[in-house]
């Protein structure tokens, strides 16, 4: 393993991570809800009465963040190298997998680990390992 020190951004990583933790803190302390993006989005597709507004507003916040940021600063660089076919398949797997696994990087990885949930720790290890293997196979075996 070779660390790319030029790409490593510890200060913004820690500051941005703290903001993500703050967002999770706001939602659990004010609303009593877990900030799990896949669960909040999936819950909109299987709605219960009175449950829609906060979900939609949370997602709206995520959508609006880059628009607001653009008013005061330039957006950080974004590179999506995968082709459209790969993007579609990836999206399908992420949608299906996060619903079956009842969580994603935010719900299990941030909120679940913050609660010391064993279930979320298992889920996090599973999606991390699968992510490592997936990238290894695509980049270093298939050469995509």
């Amino acid at each position: 393993m070779q660390v790319d020190w030029t790409a490593f951004t510890p200060v913004t990583a820690l500051a941005g991570g703290a903001l993500i933790g703050l967002a999770a803190a706001i939602l659990i302390l004010a609303n009593g809800r877990v900030a799990g993006v896949s669960g909040i989005l999936g819950g909109l597709l299987q709605p219960r009465a009175g449950d829609r507004a906060w979900r939609a507003m949370f997602l709206l916040g995520l959508l609006a963040a880059p628009l607001l940021m653009r008013l005061g600063a330039s957006l950080p660089p974004i590179h999506i190298d995968a082709g459209l076919g790969q993007i579609v398949l990836a999206g399908l797997l992420v949608g299906l997998g996060t619903r079956y696994g009842a969580g994603c990087t935010s719900g299990h990885g941030v909120c679940g680990l913050s609660r010391f949930s064993l279930r979320s720790a298992v889920a996090t290890v599973c999606f991390m390992m699968a992510g490592f293997v997936s990238v290894y196979l695509l980049r270093h075996v298939a050469g995509l």
Partner: protein, 139 residues
């Protein structure tokens, strides 16, 4: 009021993803690529998020209701079963294919990224498929 705090939470979450670089799929993939030029940033993002999250969730556990009087809905599920493991593995495979997970996907749409929009539509299709399969299962 809960809608406003949810909006605030989503905004802060989105800013955090942008500032940390996690809205950039290439940076996420640089973390997942252990055999390449490895970028450990994602690990610090999670560590910092959890460091802030731990006291918040510890406090939440002791509260009967949220600050806005809502029921405290901490996940009750404890079981580690096939659904959890297989679902998370499938998610991880998809995550590694594009470097995009659900939070950053929505930020990418807001940033005007066409591929982000395609990803979100495919992700919604996957979630709808799950909802349909679940409905069939419960009948």
């Amino acid at each position: 009021m809960t809608a406003l705090t949810a909006l605030l939470s989503g905004l802060v979450f989105g800013f955090g993803l942008l500032l940390s670089g996690m809205a950039d799929p290439a940076k996420v993939l640089a973390f997942l690529d252990l055999a390449g030029a490895w970028d450990p940033s994602l690990m610090l993002v999670m560590a910092a998020a959890i460091a802030v999250g731990v006291p918040a969730f510890a406090r939440a556990r002791r509260m009967k209701a949220s600050l806005l009087g809502q029921p405290m809905q901490l996940p009750a599920a404890r079981q580690i079963d096939r659904r959890l493991v297989l679902g998370s593995l499938v998610f991880g495979v998809g995550w590694g294919m594009a470097g995009i997970c659900p939070g950053p996907a929505l930020v990418l749409v807001g940033a005007g990224q066409f591929k982000g929009l395609v990803f979100v539509l495919a992700m919604l299709a996957g979630m709808l498929l799950f909802a349909l399969l679940e409905r069939r299962r419960s009948r």
